[in-house]
């Protein structure tokens, strides 16, 4: 059964965050800048990750995290892959808006990292790439490289790609309660062509992830894909929660 391997200290889940820090990220979202909303959501996600990894007073290293920010260059925010207990020590890195949005270059960096890592992940959950952006790419089309990434696999399943697209009006309907929203499905009407492209390069939400989302109080549909329209801070946070929905060992008693 794909995507059923538990994230444990001995089989940690690799999650790669790819964060767009282009100039548009300084635009407002509610009463904050988009980039501040993303940092808040990252902090909440990290706390949740620590919550799920803490047994007694110890943080079990059941997640391994890489975090890249990209604009016209790619920046390694954690200086390599760090375990969740190490990231908890470091805290959330500070993000600053920069210039353009070279998405393809950023995914190429992810591809390179995965090529290095994959041979050692045979017993681990399938890695996940969580991409957060707020606008169309300015360099090459990222789709080819993303498709190559999605074709990579370990015994647990293909590499998962999630997209969080921060935009004000992606959906025809407003989402009043994120916990009752069923997510983006292949049939969901999207008002933006780039959003449609991002949906096409988003993985289908695995059942095990969906179960974890349901346990967290969300209502993701069976056919939901791993794409979140980041129209509100709550949705952005939901996107990051989805990124860490790998089944974990000892979740229950």
């Amino acid at each position: 059964m794909p995507y059923e391997v538990l994230a444990t200290s001995r089989s940690p889940a690799l999650i790669i965050y790819l964060l767009d820090v282009s100039g548009s990220m300084s635009e407002p979202m509610g009463n904050k800048r988009r980039i501040d909303v993303v940092m808040d959501a990252l902090g909440a996600m990290l706390r949740q990750m620590v919550f799920r990894s803490t047994k007694g007073g110890r943080v079990a290293p059941r997640y391994r995290i890489a975090m890249y920010a990209y604009s016209d260059h790619v920046y390694d925010l954690l200086n390599g892959i760090r375990t969740v207990d190490q990231v908890a020590q470091l805290g959330v890195p500070e993000l600053k808006p920069m210039r353009s949005t070279d998405t393809a270059r950023a995914f190429a960096q992810v591809e390179k990292l995965l090529q290095q890592e994959l041979p050692a992940l045979g017993h681990c959950p399938a890695p996940l790439v969580c991409h957060m952006t707020d606008g169309e790419y300015t360099g090459n089309d990222p789709e080819p490289v993303v498709r190559r990434i999605m074709a990579m696999q370990v015994p647990d399943g293909h590499v998962l790609v999630e997209n969080i697209f921060i935009s004000d009006n992606l959906l025809a309907e407003r989402i009043s309660d994120v916990y009752k929203w069923s997510g983006v499905t292949p049939k969901t009407k999207l008002s933006n062509n780039y959003a449609k492209k991002l949906r096409s390069i988003s993985s289908r939400l695995p059942q095990s992830y969906r179960a974890m989302m349901l346990e967290s109080g969300y209502s993701m549909a069976d056919e939901a894909v791993m794409m979140i329209p980041g129209m509100t801070p709550a949705l952005v946070e939901m996107g990051f929660v989805m990124s860490m929905a790998t089944p974990i060992g000892a979740e229950r008693p």
Partner: protein, 629 residues
């Protein structure tokens, strides 16, 4: 003899069994790989207490996502054993519904003292701020645990069971497994919380022991047994499953408990022979192990030298080692076949050195091997928090984190063992025919009676620290002199409709009043009470004993009919909180018109001369008008 076994949470306890005259039992404990590698305590808790005619157990699985789940598991486990041992009292002949109601009330009443312990539990200031924030958030949510607990009672010939959550509880009769009689009631979302009490429904069952041959309970860390085990297995097989589970990536804490009825174990199977023809060869995908099939095998287990183990379906007779499992210092492996029972191991096969990679990109070291404490070890290194059975205490004691061992405890324990041995020797000498001791020390049956019994609330309960948290349990005769914890006190007020209520020397309406000129309680007067007793009097079944309190020295120890009092606050579950004195009829050497009662409570060390008996009136079937208490 009362035996108490509280398995230490900071180490592994291999499968260990005890056979008594009428029943036997066995238990085991192992921490998860993570806990072992971090040398941290496990979050399961297992406790057993037994004497000649009853066996009480509690197996609790702390919720790792909650605040220090081991804390809830320990508090709850101790409280459950206490309840099933001391407090079940008059419920022994009750129905499921009554048992469920009273035990639910008891578990909910633990919330306050347990929450206080959670509040006081220290979190290291050395942790990263984010981790501290998370732990404080968990502290607000409380500590949680699932449990299965029960009492095997040979006197009533009934088995009393209670459970919440997905810890396993399985039953067998002579004809096979009868677990289905418990229904689909093992729900992972149900548990006990220090903040919320019972989350979900408490499940109980009362069964005649004639229906049961043996019972097996285990935490979900042994989920492998769900499919594997259809009957009682050999010790070696249970231990093998524990060790196999502990080397899996998803390894969780493990606790196991089983009891059987009768003077010997249930029938056991035989192990399969060791596999033969093992060969290792280098294949494109890695090192490939092949062997000859073993008849009767359900699956095979491949174990590397460092303890890492792999499951291989019985339809296969080959296995390719994952490259990530090859380490420079892991030089050999072995194989065995499983039916239900673990088979014999093959000889070790050496791995070719050229197949072992020097490094791996991801650190996936196998967990440290399970290391068991020597059976002769007789103390726990843990300094455990105070028991919830001390819930009576108005102020919960501070909780300490696990502390290093204290060598002086060895001497203390050694002294205890020596004293116990001496006491047993004296006891034996006492009962020997012709011994002068009974004559020398015998008391007149009538000369030493005092007006009321001075029993302590928790005579046989070991509060904290528990020296019996050991692999080789200390056998101590009951009564056991223990430090007496702070007693439970509940305030009651005289009902407004009563002008006054008499304070009696004994818990019945014919008993004389306390030897005081004014041994009455006035209308609306409020005092503290520390114990209650249920009598045969249908008009005044419950009596409460006045606790020590200033201004009422002459009334202390006196008894008042409970139906003339109201607790404050009125909804306080006083029958759950207060210890109950149980009176058991015994043949009287006196006149046949007098029934003598012996309290089953054990006396505590006291300067007061404690009577062995109290007198009670003849049970009468003749209706009579009750005098004003």
């Amino acid at each position: 003899m009362t035996i108490e076994i509280k398995l230490p949470q900071d180490r592994e306890t291999p499968i260990t069994s005890r056979q008594r005259h009428n029943f036997g039992y066995r238990f085991a404990y192992a921490r998860s790989a993570d806990s072992r590698s971090g040398d941290e305590i496990g979050q399961d808790f297992l406790m057993v207490r037994e004497d000649d005619d009853k066996l009480v157990f509690a197996l609790c699985d702390g919720v790792s996502q909650s605040f220090f789940g081991d804390l809830a598991a320990r508090l709850l486990g101790e409280a459950l054993v206490y309840w099933f041992w001391e407090r079940i009292g008059t419920l022994l002949k009750s129905s499921d519904g009554t048992l469920r109601k009273v035990l639910t009330e008891f578990l909910d009443s633990l919330v306050k003292p347990a929450s206080e312990q959670v509040t006081r539990y220290p979190v290291s200031s050395d942790l990263a701020p984010m981790v501290q924030q998370v732990l404080e958030e968990k502290r607000r949510l409380g500590s949680e645990s699932t449990f299965v607990a029960g009492r095997l009672d040979l006197r009533t010939r009934r088995l009393y069971l209670a459970w919440m959550g997905d810890s396993r509880l399985r039953l067998w009769s002579e004809k096979g497994e009868i677990t289905s009689r418990l229904g689909k009631t093992f729900r992972s979302e149900e548990r006990w919380s220090t903040r919320r009490g019972c989350i979900g429904e408490l499940h109980v069952s009362i069964l005649p022991i004639s229906a049961v041959s043996y019972l097996i309970a285990y935490s979900d860390g042994l989920a492998r047994l769900d499919q594997l085990m259809t009957r009682h297995l050999r010790d070696e097989s249970i231990q093998a499953v524990i060790e196999f589970s502990s080397h899996r990536p998803e390894s969780d804490d493990v606790s196991f408990f089983e009891f059987w009825l009768g003077g010997r174990r249930p029938p056991e199977g035989y192990p399969l022979p060791a596999p033969h023809g093992l060969r290792l060869e280098q294949a494109a995908e890695g090192l490939r192990l092949t062997w000859q099939a073993v008849e009767g095998a359900r699956w095979y287990e491949v174990e590397l030298e460092n303890g890492e183990a792999f499951y291989v379906s019985s339809v296969q007779t080959s296995f390719t080692l994952p490259k990530t499992s090859l380490h420079p210092n892991t030089c050999r492996l072995r194989l065995r076949a499983w039916s239900e029972e673990a088979g014999a191991w093959s000889d070790y096969v050496n791995l070719p050195p050229e197949a072992l990679p020097p490094v791996t990109p991801v650190e996936t070291n196998a967990p440290p091997p399970i290391s068991y404490a020597a059976l002769s070890q007789t103390q726990s290194d843990l300094r455990l928090p105070p028991s919830l059975a001390d819930l009576a205490a108005k102020e919960a004691l501070p909780v300490s984190p696990p502390a290093p061992s204290f060598r002086w405890l060895n001497f203390l324990l050694g002294g205890t063992i020596v004293l116990t041995f001496l006491a047993m020797s004296v006891g034996l000498f006492w009962v020997m025919r012709g011994s002068p001791l009974p004559t020398i020390f015998s008391l007149s049956p009538t000369s030493s009676l005092t007006p009321y019994p001075t029993y302590t609330p928790y005579p046989t309960y070991t509060p904290y620290p528990t020296l019996s948290a050991i692999l080789a349990p200390t056998e101590t005769p009951t009564p056991t002199p223990m430090p007496s914890p702070t007693p439970v006190l509940v305030k009651f007020c005289v009902l407004p409709l009563m002008t006054e209520v008499k304070v009696r020397q004994a818990p019945e309406v014919f008993a004389p009043q306390k030897e005081s000129e004014n041994s009455v309680l006035r209308q609306n007067e409020c005092l503290l009470f520390d114990m209650y007793v249920q009598t045969n009097d249908t008009q005044h079944p419950f009596w409460l004993r006045l606790a020590t309190q200033t201004g009422y020295n002459e009334l202390i120890g006196g008894w008042v009919a409970a139906d003339y009092l109201v607790p404050t606050p009125t909804n306080i579950p006083w029958q759950t909180l207060l210890p109950q004195l149980t009176l058991t009829p015994v043949p009287s050497p006196m006149s046949s018109s007098v029934v003598t009662f012996t309290p089953t409570f054990t006396r505590a060390p006291s300067d007061t001369q404690i009577p062995a008996t109290i007198e009670s009136p003849i049970p009468s079937t003749t209706p009579f008008s009750s005098p004003t208490p």
